[in-house]
Point group: C2
Chain length 246, copies 2
C-alpha cells in the first residue's frame, strides 16, 4: 500500500465539520467519496486535526493509504475533478508508510478573522466575525502576548476536551490590523478543543474593557475554564497551515 499525503483547502460554511458524523455532510465524507470515485477503494483519511462545523481551512493536511498506481503528480487534479467547488486539493505527495498527518504535525497555525467595518464586508461574511464596535487593540495585544510559551491551557479548553494533558506550547501569537480587518494568528505545537476560539472570546473581553491584560494572564494561570470568556463563533476561524519536519 502507498501512503499519500494531500494538502487541501476548504470553505467550511456548508459542512458539519471535518470529521465523519452520523448526520453526514462532512469534509471527510466528501474527500473519501472523491477518493473512492477515483480509485474504486473505500478508504479512511487521517487529518492533522478535525475542524468544527463552519470552520475553514486555508491549508489542512491529510493522509490515506491506497493501492492505486496513479502517479503522485496527478492526484491533485484528478481528485479536484471529483470534488465540489468549496473543497480544493492543493498538492499531493507520497510519504513513508509511518507518516501520520496528526501525530507527525510539528506546528499548526490558525487565523481568527474579524471584520471591524461598520456594516461588514459582504464578501467576507462567512470568513470573519463582524464586530464593528471599538476595541482596545493595545491591551488585546498585551493580553495575547501572555499565551506565548509553554502553558497549561485548561482555562482555554472546552470542558469536552478528552486530552490527558492540557500543556501546549504557543510559538507565535500576533494581531494584524488593516482597513476594516483584524487578524489574530496563533502558531503552536498543538491546540486543545476550542482553544483558539476561547482565547479569542476572552481577548474580546479585554478589547471591550471587561478585563485587563493582567486579568487575562491570571485567567490563563487559573487553569479553570469558567474564568475565561465565551467561545468565539466558528466561522471566523481558519486552519491556516500545518507544518511537518520532512
Amino acid at each position: 500500500m502507498r501512503n499519500i499525503r494531500i494538502a487541501v483547502s476548504y470553505d467550511g460554511t456548508t459542512y458539519h465539520g471535518f470529521q465523519t458524523q452520523p448526520i453526514g455532510n462532512t469534509v471527510q465524507d466528501v474527500l473519501e467519496h472523491a477518493i473512492r470515485m477515483l480509485t474504486g477503494e473505500q478508504t479512511s483519511v487521517t487529518a492533522s486535526g478535525r475542524t468544527d462545523a463552519g470552520v475553514h481551512a486555508r491549508r489542512q493536511v491529510i493522509n490515506f493509504e491506497t493501492s492505486s498506481p496513479i502517479p503522485v503528480n496527478r492526484w491533485a487534479l484528478a481528485l479536484n475533478s471529483w470534488l465540489p467547488g468549496d473543497i480544493v486539493v492543493l498538492q499531493a505527495d507520497e510519504v513513508a508508510p509511518s507518516f501520520h498527518a496528526s501525530y507527525n504535525a510539528r506546528r499548526k497555525t490558525y487565523r481568527y478573522g474579524i471584520d471591524t467595518s461598520k456594516f461588514g464586508d459582504v464578501f467576507e461574511r462567512n470568513y470573519r466575525l463582524h464586530y464593528p464596535m471599538p476595541l482596545r487593540l493595545q491591551e488585546m495585544k498585551a493580553a495575547l502576548a501572555h499565551v506565548v510559551g509553554k502553558h497549561d491551557f485548561t482555562s482555554f479548553a472546552s470542558r469536552r476536551s478528552t486530552k490527558t494533558s492540557h500543556v501546549r506550547t504557543i510559538l507565535d501569537a500576533r494581531m494584524e490590523e488593516s482597513e476594516g480587518k483584524l487578524d489574530i494568528f496563533l502558531t503552536g505545537d498543538g491546540f486543545l478543543y476550542n482553544m483558539v476560539r476561547i482565547i479569542v472570546g476572552t481577548l474580546f473581553w479585554v478589547g471591550e474593557g471587561k478585563l485587563s491584560a493582567d486579568d487575562f494572564k491570571r485567567i490563563l494561570e487559573a487553569r479553570n475554564r469558567t474564568a475565561a470568556g465565551p467561545t468565539a463563533v466558528a466561522h471566523g476561524l481558519m486552519l491556516w497551515d500545518v507544518e511537518y519536519d520532512d
Copy 2:
C-alpha cells in the same frame, strides 16, 4: 416626497441580476422588499445601472422616493435589519428631488477579477474567473491601454445593446498583479451592455497569444462585435464604484 440615495454592496452569486424580472429573486426585489418592510411603502428603486446574474457590487448606488420621516443617519442600519447577509447598505443620504442614480453618475469603475493560481483559491471561487494557464501580461497591458480615451465601443458591446450611441470615454484602464491574482480595473463615463466582459474576453485572446495588442486596437476600430473575443464569465465582474459630482 424625499429622495434617498443609498450605497449598497452585494454578492450577486445567488441572484438573477440587479433588475426586477418575471423570474424573481433579484437584488432590486430584495431591496424594495426591505424598504416596504421598513416604511410600509411600495417603491421602485433606481440604480446607477443594472448588473447581470452572478455579477457583484462592491459599491452600487441607488435612489428612491419615500414619505417616511426616518432620519437619514438611521436608514443604513434599519434597512440592513431587513436584508439578507449577501446585501449590505453601506451609507445613506438625502439628495435633491432631481437626483437620479443613473443619469447623474459621472464615473463608474468595474473590476474584473482573475485567479491565476494552479487550483484556485476556494474563498474567491465566486468572485474571480479561475485561469491557471500562462498569460502574456505585458501584451495584455499594451492592448488594454488602447481602450483609454473616447471611442465607439460597438466591437465590445453585446448585440443586444439598445443604445443609440456606442461612444463612451474610458478614463482609466489598468491591470494589477499579485500572488495568484490578476485584477483589471476600468473607469469610464459609462459602459455598454457586456462591455467590460467582452473587453476582458478579448484581452484573454491577447494573453493566450491568439491576438497581438495591435490586433486588439484594430478590433476596437472595426466597430464590429464579431471581430472581438467572447464575453468573459459573469462571476469575475464587480461594480467597484460609482461617482457623482455632489
